[in-house]
Amino acid sequence: MTDQAQILPGTLDLLILKSVSLGPLHGYGVLLRIAQISAQALLIEQGALYPALFRLVRQGLLKASWGTSENNRRAKFYELTAAGRKRLREETEGWNRLAAAMGTALATQPEEI
């Protein structure tokens, strides 16, 4: 557990949008996908996932429909809406800017001041 990074507040939504953008997923699938795309570095607390999913659905960023999973279980699948795609793009740019800025800031050496 300790080698897994703590999720920053506000990043969960972005991660969900990203993972769903790669193809429709059910809730458990979103968890697995996040673990997979972050190379097991980011692990989401399972109970926190669903409120976030519902919030995104309510905001119109995701849409949900019931379907059947690969191992024949009934599950609810999530997909990105157009609004969700747009949001993902914006948030990704925002995150990249922030990360770049943080990187630059943290890389600053004493002689550079």
């Binding site: 059910h26 409120p51 599950a75």
Partner: protein, 884 residues
């Protein structure tokens, strides 16, 4: 029904709530199953895998809860929570809750009743198809609603704007269905009446224009549903039955549908008969007389696409044609159109004016109630300042706190509004059942409908938000740190607060209400004690119409004399006089009066219109009308002697300049008759109590016979015994003659009815205003005393006099009272001009009224501050100081 819909919507929300919960549940279950599948694949047993999956998932309840909130379904839950908290809070302060709910109950109730009247009499259309295009014709400057039959025929046949025009007239008849004749009120209508209104029979058939073939050719009756129900017990075999109307056989054709009760809102007839049978119904037929313009109300639907303006232009051109063609009979032939329900503008204008005024006052009451509740809520919020501060300090949002306050306000307003509405529904239903006048078919059909419910609940909600908004600023400005540190009692500012303004405003409104009700009461008192030109006390009236028993022509005067003689011979009877229609009995019959020099007797040359009465020689003695000069009639003023008249002072003044010169003078009537004035009597009231002096003439009944008979029996005897004796005597003369008896004082109720109703409603408004003033002042005084108890205790401990203590405690309340009352009084005096419309002699500049209002407000103030003052005076400094 309304309640059911409400429950359905609430349960719908719960249903959706449980649906979403189910969905969240299922999703969580599916998640755990999928995880367990994966774990199972790593070699765990199914049971173990599921257990592990559940543990990994963590707190399911918390997850579901958060999911549910994220779904936005929590609105209702928060609301329920707010309501629960509010109910608990309101339960804790029972006095406050009771006062608030009671105030609103009264205010909403008053508004619902007044709106119910407005709705039923003005907003709600007549129950005929397409009421919006149905108009009645009004003629001339004074908007006369009645027209002659030949004029009606010309309107009907010459206009191009109306689909059809029908005409009708209200008359009283005697109906004999086999046992005994009873009086009924009916409508005489033209043959096309039902077709023009597009009404279809409930049972049997109606008569049509094709059934009319000249005088007395259509002896048919159509019953109203209500009369069929009450008189014939809904017997379906009445169709085809022959009954006697005024001793003439009429055949019942059918029954009208229940919702159609004629086209007048106030008069529900028992049945309809064709107008062509007027001679059988009324004894004489005046259908050929174009000059008889007081006869028929005319109405019809505009053709589709024709505007009111086009129709008026059309009618006016027909009118000017008639003026040119019949200069002797027709003048002032220009028209107005009005919806017919309130007899056009004749009754419509005063009713609309009065109801609008009443609605305004009711609105003021609601406003005063809101001001009252607003200051109560502000006080409550101030008392809870510490609690609010604490909650803010603990992280509650201001929005949530305000929501709580509003929930409380709306809860109170809804409870108060519902109770008020229920009360008003009961009252309106009662009012609809009420028959205010025993001898007339007057009804007030004001059953409440959905409009009333909606308006009342909306008003309740709106006022809830209005007074709930008063403490908002207070909460928004609360600084938790300051309040918790200093305590709320440290904030007794000297400056004028919102609450002061609210209270002063409220008192001003209440003073307006008290002023207007006093003006109305005073006006009624005056009209009761004004000079009517007759003495209604100790007089019994017998009303009948000789044509209802088949008398006509020469038989009428003979029968009249027999009746007078029969009643005269009853022991204890002083005098018996006869008049065709009493003064102050639903207006008067007017006749055009021409000066003796006028030769062209067309209406536009008339000197004026005079109220006309046909009387017996003893009428003035029986009515105790004072003769000012000349003589009364004698039995010798009959058909064979020169025509004579007695006129009132106003008549004499108008045509001859003075009373003296009028005696022996001549004037002419429309038909060319030349009358000599033989006597002058005092002025009286003829049409309404509020009228200006009106000219009147009295003609000897033998020279102008009328089958309408009202006998005035003047006697000092006990009215009940006298009534018995009179009834027996009437039956001895002719058992088949329907008649009614009434004390003249009771009969006058019809004339006083409008101003009685006005006074009663304004009185109730004033009373409510007074109650609101009392509760408002009481609330304010009690609050300020309780806040300053400690200060008062110190004053008492330091030897303050009682007067000083009182001044400190209540000085402010009294200042506000004085200020508000003065403002209200001035406003009330201004507003009372409106009242002059309805209430006889409504003069607000009356010292009695002004003094009365001042006294009333002072008394109300005293009453309201009595208990707080007692409390202030009984302060025990030791107790108080020890408590701190």
């Amino acid at each position: 029904m309304k309640l059911q819909a409400y429950f359905r919507s609430v349960s719908g929300k719960f249903l959706r709530h449980s649906q979403t919960t189910d969905e969240v549940d299922e999703e969580v279950r599916s998640h755990i199953a999928l995880r367990a599948d994966d774990l199972e694949r790593t070699g765990l047993s199914r049971a173990e895998a599921e257990r592990r999956a559940r543990i990994e998932f963590g707190g399911q309840e918390k997850c579901k809860d958060e999911s549910y909130q994220a779904l936005g379904g929590n609105f209702l839950e928060t609301l329920m929570q707010d309501i629960r908290v509010s109910v608990r809070g309101l339960r804790k302060s029972k006095g406050f809750t009771f006062a608030a709910v009671a105030t609103l109950t009264l205010a909403i109730g008053a508004n619902a009743v007044v709106f119910g009247l407005l709705n039923a009499l003005i907003i709600r259309p007549l129950t005929v198809p397409h009421p919006e295009s149905l108009y009645g014709l009004e003629r001339g400057n004074d908007k006369a609603i009645n027209h002659s039959y030949p004029d009606y025929l010309d309107f009907r046949d010459r206009n191009r704007s109306f689909a059809d025009l029908a005409a009708y007239n209200v008359v009283g008849v005697g109906l004999d269905t086999g046992d005994q004749a009873v009086s009924s009120w009916i409508l005489e209508v033209t043959g096309n009446y039902f077709d023009a209104l597009d009404i279809h029979p409930y049972l049997g058939r109606f008569f049509h224009a094709a059934d009319e073939h000249g005088p007395n050719s259509a002896p048919y009756i159509v019953l109203t549903y209500a009369f069929w129900h009450s008189r014939f017990q809904e017997d379906r075999n009445v169709v085809g039955r022959v009954v006697q109307v005024n001793k003439h056989p009429f055949t019942i054709l059918g029954v009208a549908p229940p919702e159609f009760r004629g086209t007048l809102l106030f008069v529900f007839p028992d049945f309809w008969v064709p107008l062509v049978n007027q001679e059988q119904i009324e004894g004489t037929s005046v259908l050929t007389e174009r000059s008889n313009r007081d006869l028929l109300m005319v109405l019809g639907h505009l053709k589709p696409g024709v505007t009111k303006k086009q129709a008026l232009a059309d009618l006016n051109s027909v009118g000017s044609y008639l003026e040119r063609t019949y200069p002797k009979d027709d003048a002032n032939m220009h028209f107005a159109l009005a919806h017919p329900g309130l007899a056009g503008d004749w009754m419509g204008d005063p009713v609309r004016g009065f109801l609008a005024g009443l609605m305004l006052l009711a609105g003021l009451i609601l406003l005063a109630a809101c001001a009252n509740l607003g200051s109560l809520f502000a006080a409550r919020a101030a008392d809870r300042a510490r609690e609010v501060a604490l909650r803010l300090a603990l992280g509650s949002s201001r929005r949530r706190i305000l929501r709580g306050l509003f929930t409380e306000a709306v809860l109170i307003s809804l409870v108060g509004g519902t109770i008020g509405l229920l009360g008003s529904v009961v009252l309106l239903r009662r009012l609809s059942m009420w028959q205010p006048l025993p001898t007339a078919p007057l009804t007030i059909p004001v059953n409440p409908d959905v409009n009333v419910y909606i308006v009342a609940l909306l008003l309740a909600l709106a006022s809830g938000f209005l007074f709930g908004a008063v403490p908002v600023r207070q909460v928004l400005r609360t600084n938790p740190y300051e309040v918790v540190k200093a305590g709320s009692s440290g904030r007794m500012g000297r400056r004028i607060t919102v609450r002061d303004i609210l209270l002063a405003g409220q008192i001003a409104i209440c003073a307006v209400l008290v002023t207007s009700s006093l003006v109305a009461v005073r006006g009624l008192m005056r009209s009761l004690h004004s000079n009517f030109g007759f003495e209604p006390r100790n007089a019994l009236l017998v009303e009948t119409a000789l044509n209802t028993a088949g008398y006509s022509g020469d038989a009428v005067p003979v029968m009249q004399k027999r009746l007078i003689d029969a009643l005269q011979s009853i022991p204890g009877v002083d005098t018996v006089g006869l008049v065709d229609r009493l003064p102050l009995y639903y207006g008067f019959t007017g006749s055009n009066v021409f000066s003796d020099q006028t030769t062209d007797l067309k209406p536009s040359n008339a000197a004026f219109q005079a109220a006309t009465y046909n009387i017996s020689p003893e009428y003035f003695a029986a009515a105790q009308t004072t003769m000012l000069a000349g003589r009364a009639f004698s039995w010798h003023d009959d058909k064979n002697s020169p025509r004579v008249a007695v006129v009132n002072r106003e008549f004499a003044r108008k045509i001859f300049g003075s009373e003296r010169s009028a005696i022996g003078g001549f004037y002419k009537l429309h038909d060319g008759a030349r009358l000599q004035i033989v006597g002058i009597v005092e002025d009286g009231k003829y049409g309404t109590l509020a009228e200006d002096p009106t000219p009147a003439m009295f003609l000897p009944m033998q020279q102008s016979p009328s089958s309408l008979v009202t006998l005035v029996v003047r006697s000092g005897r006990d009215p009940e015994q006298l009534t018995e004796a009179v009834r027996a005597a009437m039956r001895d003369v002719d058992a088949g003659l329907p008649f009614t008896t009434a004390l003249w004082t009771h009969e006058l109720d019809s004339a006083l009815f409008p101003s009685r109703m006005a006074t009663m409603s304004l009185g109730v408004m004033g009373l409510m205003g007074a109650m609101l003033a009392v509760t408002g002042i009481f609330g304010m005084a009690a609050y300020s005393v309780s806040k300053r108890l400690r200060e008062l205790g110190i004053r008492v401990a330091l030897g303050g006099q009682r007067w000083e203590v009182l001044q400190a405690a209540l000085g402010r309340a009294f200042k506000l009272l004085a200020f508000g009352s003065a403002a209200g009084l001035i406003l009330g005096v201004l507003a009372s001009r409106v009242l002059a419309f309805i209430v006889y002699q409504a003069t607000p500049r009356d010292p009695v009224v002004l003094g009365g209002v001042a006294l009333a407000m002072a008394l109300l103030g005293l009453l309201a501050t009595w208990i707080p003052a007692q409390r202030a005076l009984s302060v025990n400094p030791m107790m108080l100081l020890r408590e701190e």
